[in-house]
Symmetry: none
Subunit: 403 residues, 2 copies
């Protein structure tokens, strides 16, 4: 029996509230041998109090050694095995810029490129045109492209990148990329890999035909290529699996989109973490599960800015009292992956995690929140996908299994 089926059997209604505060990229590394990590360096009296009263451990987002992107990282925390639920590239790109994707859609990443008179690609990134040019070209396409039987959406991403979304009946995702992957070659035709994707391939070919005509006098971006065709993934909602009403309070489009994929309601978050906590308060009676996303632990890590990452962790710590004041039954603070400022990138290192649940927690001996203290904690080292069932248990939302 799968864990999801087991939980469907065991879940029971409750009025308890769970808060999942995701500090994106929370885990880190010391800069100097023998030094402290960002989280260990930060002054976090409120997180330390939660760690002390609660229990801590380390979350492995996907599997040992695997560095996750935001998609797999969050799916794990939402209680889904990231190895079983692959979110296609096109869908993630669309979510990342706030383009909604639904069950009738195929979402595709696009690149503006440069072709010569014979149609051969001379620059796969069209000289990395600035975002303003991308926006202008997208606007031009938007005004002119017209394809029967589907609704077409084109949105700029950044520089030479854009997103294309087709909406209609029978649009499979199994279509090959049109990027030939090196210059000097013609772009490829969008070929269907199965019968269910034939219509998508025809629609994409027509889109490219029209785009070529529209862009022909532009320079350097006189054509585009499509890749990462992806349908909305078939994922059961959190309500269906876990029997909870979840809400997402996230500022950045990517995380709002990921939350929508698993059926969360997405509400307006305000701008700061303080705003997000206030939004949680306002919506407290209407939901069971509050996903609050905090981006800056990741972006400062990506920037390689150790001191700034320490500072934004301290900013997060300052909001904890307001979260506690809501009296959640379970409060979890974790990350979707590590982003050590030393590496300036996501990493595979396990993520420090704390679970605070006054009614049911078995405290451990740890009194501070940090990577090394977490090694001694009651949660041990665990897979991210196992955290949500544990949260439900602490929230009194799972019956006994078997007699």
């Amino acid at each position: 029996m799968s864990m999801h089926d087991l939980i469907r059997q065991l879940r029971e209604p409750s009025k308890t509230k769970i808060v999942l505060l995701v500090a994106d990229g929370l885990g880190g590394l010391p800069i100097e041998p023998g030094g402290k990590t960002e989280l260990e360096t930060a002054k976090t009296p409120n997180l330390d109090a939660l760690a002390s009263e609660g229990t801590v451990g380390l979350s492995t987002p996907v599997a040992p050694g695997i560095t996750p992107g935001s998609g797999p990282g969050h799916l794990g925390l939402f209680g889904y095995d990231p190895l079983k639920h692959d979110i296609g590239r096109g869908v993630l790109e669309a979510l990342g810029i706030g383009v909604e994707v639904g069950p009738k859609d195929v979402a595709i990443r696009g690149n503006f490129c440069t072709i010569d008179a014979e149609g051969r690609v001379t620059d796969r990134r069209a000289g990395r045109i600035p975002t303003e040019v991308c926006e202008k070209l997208v606007a031009k396409l938007r005004g002119a492209v017209k394809i029967d039987g589907v609704e077409t959406l084109v949105e700029p991403v950044r520089e030479y990148r854009l997103v294309v979304r087709f909406r209609g009946e029978g649009l499979g995702e199994n279509v090959c990329d049109t990027d030939p992957l090196s210059t000097g070659l013609h772009t490829l035709e969008p070929k269907a890999g199965d019968a269910a994707s034939e219509k998508t391939a025809r629609v994409a070919a027509e889109f490219l035909r029209q785009a070529k005509a529209i862009l022909k006098d532009e320079s350097p971006a006189n054509f585009l290529m499509l890749r990462g065709f992806a349908n909305f993934p078939k994922i059961s909602t959190m309500e269906d699996v876990y029997g909870i009403k979840p809400v997402a309070i996230a500022v950045y489009p990517m995380y709002r989109g990921l939350a929508r994929l698993v059926g969360m309601t997405v509400v307006e978050p305000g701008k700061t973490l303080a705003d997000q906590v206030e939004v949680a308060r306002e919506n407290w009676s209407q939901y069971d599960f509050f996903f609050i996303h905090y981006k800056y632990t990741d972006s400062t890590g990506e920037d390689g800015d150790f001191a700034r990452k320490v500072a934004v962790i301290e900013d997060l710590d300052a909001q904890i009292p307001k979260l506690r004041a809501l009296n959640p039954d379970v409060l979890i603070v974790t990350g979707d992956h590590s982003t050590p400022s030393r590496m300036k990138s996501h990493s595979f290192h396990p993520v420090p995690t704390l679970l605070w649940a006054p009614a049911t927690v078995r405290p451990d001996l740890v009194t501070t929140f940090g990577e090394r203290p977490a090694l001694q904690g009651g949660l041990g080292q665990f897979l991210a996908k196992d955290l949500l069932p544990l949260a439900l248990a602490h929230a009194g939302r799972l019956q006994k299994f078997g007699a």
Copy 2:
């Protein structure tokens, strides 16, 4: 998606170097209540330095409570789930004496035995004849047996034991043992369990017919029995799965054979661990992954010689500086299983493991290498098969999963 498929997707080329130093049977037990294990007793300043700068933990070779033989123990460390890849007895016996086994082979364990005038087995081990007699009889068989359509190899093992290898087309492994398992019974015919193994059964029957004639005047070893028919296992190579060029530097045939099974190049190792490290140095530019096998932690454990096991651990420690001088990106020291001298045998106890990777390791608080300190380490307790992906991650050889 399987971990192997995931890694095939994510792996990327790199110039980084990984060293896997396997101290066979490394884990131990205290002799006295409250005492130290062999590793904890040994003076190991160099291993302690690695543990201090790196991270430690405990490896479970197959699953909790399972005592592995050398085959499953090493497969795990090579990144293969030992429960999914069974290596047949005949193949392991052949590898153990340095007989090569390939895709067209069926390898079989043989026993010399004694039969009476009616062909009933009177001694299943032929009075445990000395190895010299075994060698003589094998030479006699070798000179006389001739079977059309297959190449036959016979090699002595020890006392009454030998290995038979048939090489040819269409030799399945599903053939029953011919040992009746008690005296007073006739040996069994080698019967095929499926169509693909019919030829093997016929070849084995003919081999036994000729052997009976050749041995009929010998005493006490006047016949032999065959068991453990096994083909070369279908295992993807480490290069195919992990994208690395691995080399094995192992003195004993069994470990050279196991390395060959997963596609490692096997080079001449010299005689001592110092020689092996020197061989690694000489081959440094040609490979990515260096498997160095050290036998004596196991053999001293099997002998029940606590003090000697301590001494050979100290010998190993003395070679660590030369390994470090090679500047590997990742250096792992572990064992394929525990062999506590108190038990004089392999055991199921988790194996102390250290991972040193200066660029990426997240240090823990542990400063010495030993079973009890390892419980506090950052690697936690893990399955051996998860160690290689982690090593690849530390070596910068795995891309991000998902966006």
